[in-house]
C-alpha cells in the first residue's frame, strides 16, 4: 500500500498547492487559485502535476469554499425555525457592540434574513422537560406556509433548550422531511449541544447555509476525479485538525470552515514530531496574515469560541489566533505618530511596492528587501522579479518623517510586526496559562522562518524547528492528518453529587460507542484513539474550563481527583481558584475519535547543489555581514553561526547573531541559542 500515491491539494486565497508522495519521491505543484470556481483550480493543479491519479489511493483536499461562501454571502437559501416568540434571535444577537464608541455600528449580518425566519408553538424547559407540547397540527401548517414555493434549499431548526432534550427538533425534522423531501435539514442538536440559544442558532444556520455548497462542490470534484481514473479514498480537511471521508461531510459541512490554517498546524506537528518535539507553538506567516496555534504533547488545543465574519460558531476548532501581519501588510504612521503594521494588506494586487504593479504603500516584504533579509534574486526561489529600489522609495516618506535612514524605518517596521506576532502567541500561551519558554517555535509559510528567531527571543524561546518546504507545509499537513470527529453533550451535574465519577465513566463509554459506530459506517476502524474532555466550571459561573482526561485516568476516576484537576486548570488560566467557597460542576462532555492514515510519508527538502555567498544586511539598527546559503550547503557544513540567511525554494530563514543552525536527519533546520 505504501508504494501507492498520496496526494494533498490545498486551495488557498492566492495559490493552490499540491504535494504528492509517490514511490519515486515528492512532487510539489503550485498554480493560481480560481476563486470563481474553486474546484477548477484544484483540478488544474492535479492536471499540471502530471500525476497518474489511477495510482493514487489517498487524496486529501483542503478548501476555502465554505469560508468564502459565508464571507461573500453566497450560501444556500435557508429557512430558520425557532420556538414561538423567538424567530428574531438571529437579528437580535447578543445586543452588545464590538466597537463601543462607533455610532455607525452595524451588527454582523446573519446568513438568514428576517423574511426567512419562522416560529412554531412548543417549549422545552432547561431540564429537558416539555413545558408546551409541540403543536403538530399548527407546526405542519406553518411549515407548509413557510416552505411552499419559497425556494429554500435548506432548513435550520434551533429550539429553546433543545440541548437538554432534542425531541421537538427531531420531530420537526421528520415533519419537514415528509412534506418536503429533498430539502436539507439541520437540527441544532446535531451540530452543537451547548446552551446559549443565539450562539447555537448561529452555528445551526451557518451549517445549513454551507451544507448545500459543500455537497455541490464535493459532487463536482468527485466527478472530475472519477473522469481522471481516481478510485482511492477522497477526504476533506476540517477546522478541528482532522479529515473526514467525503461521505462523512454529509451533515458535517460546517467543520470545513477555516480548514486551511488547521492543515498547516497538522503538518507542523507531524514534521516537528519526527525530530522528537511535541510541545510546539506553530507560526504560519503568509501574504496577508499570521496564524499561531499552541500544541501540547502533539495535540493542538481546541476552542469552541470561534466565529466567522462576526457570527459565532460553536463547534470545536483548533485554537488558532490570526493577526494581520503578513508579507503584504502595509506599514503606516497614524495621526498620533505611532508606527503601525497592518491590518490593511496590499494583497496580491497591487501587492508590495517591489512587485512593480503600481503599489506605493510600503509593506513588510518591502521592508525585508530594504534590510537585505530577502534578496531580489532569490525571491520565491527566483521565480518572481522584484525591484528593491521601489521598496526603498515606498519607505522614503516614513524615513523623512522620522528623521532617520530608510533601513532604520524598515527595521523598525519589522520589529513592530514581530511584536504583533508576539502578542498573538501570548494570546494562545500566557493568556491560557502556558509559558512559551516550554515550547519550540515551528515557523512556516512563506515568511514565518524570516521572523522566527526574533519572535523567539522576545518570548524567551530557545529552540526553533523549521520544516523543509515550509512554504507548502499545509498541503503536506492534509496527507499527514488523522481522520477525526468530535461529539459534545451538555450534561450538567456537580462533582459532589452522588456517583459523579461513575456518571463520567458511563457518559464517556456511551459516547465512545456512538462515535465508534459512526466511524465504522465511514469504513474507519483502524487504530482508533479517543480524547476525553470535560468542560467544567464552579457552580454559578457561565464559562467553562476544559479538563482533558486520559483513558487510564477515567478508569480509576474519583471526584477528589477531578476536583483537583479542575482547580489546577482554573488556576492556570485565571490565576485563582475558588475551591475555598465554591463547588465545581461538569457542564459538558466532549469526545474525540481519531483514526490515523495508513502511513505518513516523510517530507524532505529538494535536492540542490550547495550554494553559498556573502551578503550585507541591516538588523536591529546595525549593518551586518552575513552568509547566505541553501539547505544543502548547511547540511554539508554541519552547523552555521548567525548571522545567516538560509534560502530554499519556498521560503527564507533568517538566523540572527547568537543563534546556531543545523539540519537534522529529518530534514528540519534546527535553530538554537
Amino acid at each position: 500500500m505504501s508504494d501507492r500515491t498520496r496526494v494533498g491539494v490545498e486551495v488557498g486565497g492566492t495559490f493552490t498547492d499540491l504535494v504528492a508522495f509517490e514511490a519515486g519521491g515528492v512532487r510539489i505543484t503550485k498554480v493560481p487559485s480560481t476563486p470563481q470556481a474553486p474546484h477548477r483550480g484544484a483540478i488544474a493543479a492535479l492536471d499540471e502535476s502530471g500525476l497518474a491519479l489511477e495510482a493514487a489511493d489517498d487524496l486529501v483536499h483542503g478548501s476555502t469554499v465554505a469560508t468564502n461562501a459565508v464571507l461573500e454571502r453566497k450560501g444556500a437559501k435557508v429557512a430558520f425555525f425557532a420556538t414561538e416568540g423567538f424567530r428574531d434571535l438571529l437579528a437580535l444577537q447578543r445586543q452588545s457592540r464590538r466597537s463601543i464608541y462607533d455610532i455607525r455600528y452595524r451588527k454582523p449580518e446573519p446568513v438568514v434574513p428576517r423574511r426567512d425566519t419562522f416560529d412554531i408553538p412548543e417549549r422545552t424547559g432547561p431540564h429537558g422537560e416539555v413545558v408546551t407540547p409541540l403543536d403538530e397540527a399548527a407546526a405542519r401548517h406553518r411549515v407548509r406556509q413557510a416552505l411552499q414555493g419559497g425556494g429554500y434549499e435548506s432548513v435550520a431548526i434551533c429550539l429553546l433548550n433543545s440541548y437538554a432534550n432534542p425531541a421537538h427538533e427531531r420531530r420537526m425534522a421528520e415533519m419537514i422531511a415528509e412534506r418536503f423531501p429533498g430539502t436539507g435539514i439541520t437540527c441544532s442538536c446535531d451540530v452543537t449541544r451547548e446552551f446559549r440559544e443565539y450562539e447555537r442558532a448561529s452555528t445551526t444556520t451557518l451549517a445549513a447555509y454551507v451544507q448545500p455548497v459543500i455537497d455541490r462542490y464535493l459532487g463536482a470534484f468527485e466527478r472530475a476525479l472519477g473522469e481522471r481514473g481516481f478510485a482511492g479514498r477522497f477526504s476533506l480537511m476540517q477546522s478541528n485538525g482532522g479529515r473526514l471521508p467525503a461521505s462523512g461531510m454529509a451533515g458535517n459541512a460546517i467543520t470545513s470552515l477555516y480548514s486551511g490554517p488547521a492543515a498547516g498546524v497538522m503538518g507542523a506537528i507531524r514534521q516537528a514530531g519526527r525530530s522528537g518535539y511535541s510541545n510546539l507553538i506553530t507560526f504560519d506567516m503568509g501574504g496577508t496574515s499570521t496564524d499561531v496555534c499552541l500544541v501540547q504533547e502533539g495535540t493542538p488545543v481546541l476552542t469552541s469560541d470561534a466565529e466567522i465574519d462576526g457570527l459565532p460558531i460553536r463547534v470545536p476548532v483548533l485554537d488558532i489566533v490570526t493577526v494581520g501581519a503578513g508579507g503584504g501588510s502595509i506599514v503606516w504612521r497614524d495621526d498620533g505618530g505611532m508606527l503601525r503594521v497592518g491590518p490593511r494588506s496590499a494583497g496580491a494586487e497591487p501587492g508590495p511596492a517591489c512587485y512593480r504593479r503600481g503599489g506605493t504603500d510600503p509593506t513588510i516584504t518591502d521592508a525585508h528587501l530594504v534590510r537585505g533579509t530577502v534578496l531580489a534574486d532569490t525571491f520565491l526561489g527566483g521565480r518572481m522579479a522584484v525591484d528593491p529600489a521601489l521598496s526603498r522609495d515606498a519607505f522614503g516618506a516614513l524615513a523623512t518623517h522620522a528623521g532617520c535612514s530608510v533601513e532604520r524605518v524598515a527595521d523598525d517596521a519589522i520589529r513592530v510586526a514581530e511584536h504583533n506576532i508576539v502578542r498573538a502567541i501570548q494570546l494562545v500561551s500566557t493568556e491560557r496559562g502556558r509559558d512559551p519558554r516550554d515550547y519550540v517555535l515551528v515557523p512556516f509559510g512563506g515568511a514565518g522562518p524570516l521572523h522566527a528567531a526574533r519572535v523567539a527571543e522576545v518570548l524567551g524561546i530557545s529552540s526553533i524547528v523549521i520544516p523543509p518546504a515550509a512554504g507548502v507545509l499545509s498541503a503536506f499537513g492534509l496527507v499527514a492528518s488523522d481522520f477525526v470527529r468530535y461529539e459534545s453533550r451538555t450534561v450538567r451535574f456537580a462533582l459532589d453529587e452522588a456517583g459523579a465519577a461513575k456518571r463520567v465513566r458511563e457518559q464517556f463509554a456511551a459516547m465512545r460507542a456512538d462515535a465508534e459506530a459512526a466511524f465504522a459506517a465511514l469504513g474507519l476502524t483502524r487504530g482508533l484513539v479517543y480524547t476525553h474532555t470535560l468542560e467544567m466550571r464552579y457552580v454559578g459561573q457561565a464559562f467553562e474550563v476544559a479538563v482533558q482526561l486520559d483513558a487510564e485516568e477515567i478508569a480509576r476516576l474519583d471526584a477528589a481527583h477531578l476536583r483537583e484537576r479542575f482547580n489546577d486548570a482554573h488556576h492556570r488560566i485565571f490565576e485563582f481558584d475558588d475551591s475555598r467557597t465554591n463547588r465545581p460542576e461538569i457542564v459538558s462532555f466532549r469526545l474525540g475519535i481519531a483514526s490515523p492514515p495508513p502511513s505518513v510519508p516523510a517530507l524532505a527538502g529538494t535536492d540542490e547543489a550547495p550554494h553559498e555567498a556573502l551578503v550585507t544586511l541591516f538588523d536591529g539598527g546595525e549593518r551586518v555581514s552575513a552568509r547566505r546559503l541553501n539547505r544543502s550547503a548547511l547540511l554539508q557544513a554541519g552547523t552555521g553561526e548567525g548571522p545567516l540567511l538560509i534560502a530554499d525554494d519556498t521560503s527564507t530563514a533568517y538566523v540572527p547573531p547568537g543563534w546556531r543552525a543545523r539540519v537534522d536527519s529529518h530534514h528540519n533546520v534546527i535553530l538554537t541559542r
Binding site: L92, L339, T430, Q541, A542
Partner: protein, 543 residues
C-alpha cells in the same frame, strides 16, 4: 533617556492587550449573570498617578471617569504608603463613584519595591443590600440604594479572604455567593493585569514601562487634539429632555453649550434643570463620562485609545445642585437616564458643527428590568439592561436592538435565564416593526420582551425613559417610536410608567417594548432598494 519610538509602540500595544485580557477574564470567571452574560463591567491599567493608560473596551460609562474614582482614594491613603496585598475600593456616588452597584477596585502594581501603576476593575453588582433586591425605585436618598464603600484602603489577605471586610459585605447583601464571587473575579482580573505589567517591567525595565505609560497618554492626547482641530470652531447649543422624574409629569430639561476652539472642546451644562427627589440624578463623574463619550464618538475614529490623555483637551462643567451635578444625599441609581440626555444634548450641538459625523437621537436610554422573588431557598434576583434602536446617520440606518451608546450590555441568553430562575419565564423576544423613525436613513428598531410570571409576589422594579417624549428626527428625519410597559392579568391591563415598581402575581404577563431610533434626512429621499428591504424584512409597522 528618551524611550525609543518602537519600544513605545510595543509597550503601548502590550498595555492595551493586558487591559483587554483583564476584561475577558473578569467576565469569564464571574458569577452573576449581569457580569458574566451581560458584561456590565470594565477594566483598566493606571499609572502611579491614577491616570487611566489603557482600558478594556466594555462599558463607556464606567471607563470615562475611572481616574475620578481613584483620586479620592489616593488623597486619603497616599500611594507611597501602600503595601503588597493592599487595595483601594470606592463606590461612593459623592466621592468620585457613580451609582452604588458599581464597585471600583484598584490594586497597586509593584515591581520589586517600586510602585509602577495600578490595575483596576469595576463591576455592576447584582445586589448590595439597600431597600429592595437589585433595584429600589422608592429610594428617597442614596443610603436606601445599597451599601456604600467610601474611598478606602484594605488588604486582601487580612481583610478579604475570609477576613472581616468580606464578612461584613457578605452579611449585608442578599445573594452573597454572587456578590463575593464577582468581587473575587475582580481581584483576580486585577492580578492578571498586575502580572502583565510586571512581565513588561522585567523585559523592558520599570523606567521604560512608566515612560511608555506617559507616552501613551501623550499619544492619545495628540490624536484627540488633531481630531478636534479638524472640526469647525464655534459655540453650539443642544437640548434634550427626560419624560419626567417618575413622580410628576414635568419634563426634565438638559442643556449643553459646546465650544470648539482650536484643539480644545468645552462642554457646559448651564441651564440644565435642578436636581430631583428621585433616583435620576446624575453624579458628576457620570456626567463627565457622558460628555466625553459623545465628543470622542463623534469627532474621532474608534481606533484612538481612550485614556486620561484623550480627556486633556476636553473640559466639562455642570452647575452644582443641578440634575447633572447633584448635592448629596440625592438618590442616583438611575443616573444613566440623565447621563443619556447629557449625551444627546452634546450630540445635537455637534450636529450643527459636523452634520456628517453625528447620529440622530436614538432610544438612548438604559431600560433596566429587575424581577425578584423570595423563595424557600433565598432570594432570586434577575436584572437585565436593554437598549433599543440607534439613531440613523449620514452613512446608514441606525442599528436595530442594540444596547445604548453609553453602555454595552449583552442580553442574557433565554436558556441562561431558564437555568437560573423558576419564578418567571421569557415567552417572547423580538424586534418591534415600525419603531424606527423614517428618513433617508431610518432609525434602528426597538425590541420587545414578554415575561410570564410563574409565582405570586414577584417584585418588578424598572427605570426607563422615552415613554412620552420620542427621540427627535434630524435634518427632516422622523421621530423614533416610544417605549412602553404593560401588565396583562386575565382581561385586565395595567399600563406602567417608565420609572416604577409593581407587584406581579402568578399568571401575569409583563410586556415591554423599548423605543426605536430617529431618522436622518428626508424620508422622501430613501432609496427604492432600501424601501423594498424594509418591506421584505418587516421593518415597517403592519398598518
Amino acid at each position: 533617556m528618551a524611550l525609543d519610538q518602537v519600544d513605545q509602540a510595543i509597550i503601548s500595544q502590550a498595555l492595551i492587550a493586558a487591559a483587554k485580557e483583564m476584561g475577558i477574564k473578569l467576565v469569564r470567571s464571574a458569577y452573576s449573570p449581569i457580569v458574566r452574560e451581560a458584561n456590565d463591567c470594565s477594566a483598566a491599567l493606571l499609572d502611579v498617578h491614577g491616570n487611566v493608560v489603557s482600558q478594556a473596551e466594555l462599558i463607556p460609562m464606567q471607563l470615562g471617569p475611572i481616574g475620578t474614582t481613584f483620586r479620592p482614594c489616593a488623597e486619603l491613603y497616599p500611594p507611597e504608603t501602600l503595601e503588597p496585598g493592599d487595595f483601594y475600593i470606592n463606590n461612593h456616588p459623592y466621592h468620585g463613584g457613580q451609582h452604588v452597584p458599581d464597585i471600583f477596585i484598584f490594586t497597586p502594581i509593584f515591581f520589586g519595591d517600586r510602585l509602577v501603576g495600578f490595575s483596576s476593575t469595576v463591576a455592576h453588582h447584582l445586589d448590595l443590600g439597600g431597600g429592595a433586591p437589585g433595584l429600589n425605585m422608592a429610594a428617597g436618598d442614596v443610603y436606601q440604594e445599597g451599601l456604600i464603600f467610601p474611598p478606602s484602603r484594605y488588604n486582601v489577605n487580612r481583610d478579604w479572604n475570609g477576613g472581616p471586610f468580606e464578612r461584613l459585605v457578605r452579611a449585608n447583601v442578599r445573594v452573597p455567593e454572587k456578590t463575593i464571587g464577582d468581587c473575587n473575579a475582580q481581584f483576580a482580573a486585577n492580578g492578571v493585569g498586575t502580572r502583565r505589567v510586571v512581565e513588561l517591567c522585567e523585559k523592558f525595565g520599570a523606567d521604560a514601562v512608566t515612560q511608555a505609560m506617559a507616552g501613551l497618554l501623550d499619544y492619545a492626547e495628540q490624536r484627540m487634539r488633531a481630531a478636534i482641530a479638524a472640526a469647525p470652531d464655534g459655540v453650539y447649543h443642544g437640548e434634550d429632555q427626560l419624560d419626567s422624574d417618575g413622580v410628576g409629569d414635568t419634563p426634565l430639561v438638559v442643556r449643553a453649550r459646546v465650544e470648539i476652539a482650536g484643539d480644545t472642546v468645552s462642554v457646559d451644562y448651564e441651564g440644565t434643570c435642578g436636581q430631583v427627589s428621585t433616583n435620576v440624578n446624575c453624579p458628576f463623574a457620570s456626567t463627565i463620562a457622558a460628555g466625553l463619550s459623545c465628543v470622542k464618538s463623534v469627532l474621532t475614529s474608534p481606533d484612538i485609545p481612550f485614556n486620561e490623555g484623550a480627556k486633556r483637551p476636553i473640559e466639562i462643567t455642570a452647575p452644582y445642585g443641578s440634575l447633572l451635578n447633584p448635592r448629596p444625599p440625592a438618590p442616583v441609581r438611575a443616573r444613566m437616564l440623565s447621563a443619556y440626555r447629557a449625551y444627546n444634548a452634546v450630540m445635537k450641538a455637534l450636529a450643527q458643527a459636523v452634520p456628517e459625523q453625528v447620529m440622530a437621537a436614538g432610544f438612548d436610554t438604559t431600560h433596566a428590568t429587575c424581577l425578584s422573588h423570595l423563595g424557600e431557598e433565598g432570594y432570586g434576583i434577575y436584572l437585565e439592561i436593554f437598549g433599543g434602536g440607534y439613531g440613523a446617520s449620514a452613512v446608514g440606518d441606525g442599528c436595530d436592538a442594540v444596547d445604548s451608546p453609553l453602555s454595552n450590555c449583552s442580553n442574557i441568553p433565554i436558556e441562561a435565564i431558564d437555568m437560573e430562575h423558576e419564578f418567571f419565564r421569557v415567552v417572547e423576544y423580538a424586534l418591534v416593526p415600525g419603531s424606527g423613525g423614517g428618513g433617508e436613513s431610518r432609525g434602528g428598531l426597538g425590541l420587545r420582551r414578554v415575561y410570564e410570571v410563574l409565582a405570586d409576589d414577584v417584585e418588578y422594579q424598572s427605570y426607563s425613559d422615552r415613554f412620552v417624549i420620542a427621540p427627535e428626527g434630524l435634518f427632516e428625519g422622523e421621530d423614533g417610536g416610544e417605549a412602553f410597559v404593560s401588565v396583562l392579568r386575565g382581561n385586565e391591563k395595567f399600563t406602567l410608567g417608565s420609572k416604577t415598581s409593581f407587584r406581579l402575581a402568578k399568571g401575569d404577563r409583563l410586556v415591554m417594548s423599548t423605543g426605536g431610533g430617529a431618522g436622518y434626512g428626508d424620508p422622501g429621499r430613501r432609496s427604492a432598494e432600501r424601501r423594498a428591504q424594509d418591506r421584505d424584512d418587516g421593518a415597517l409597522a403592519a398598518s
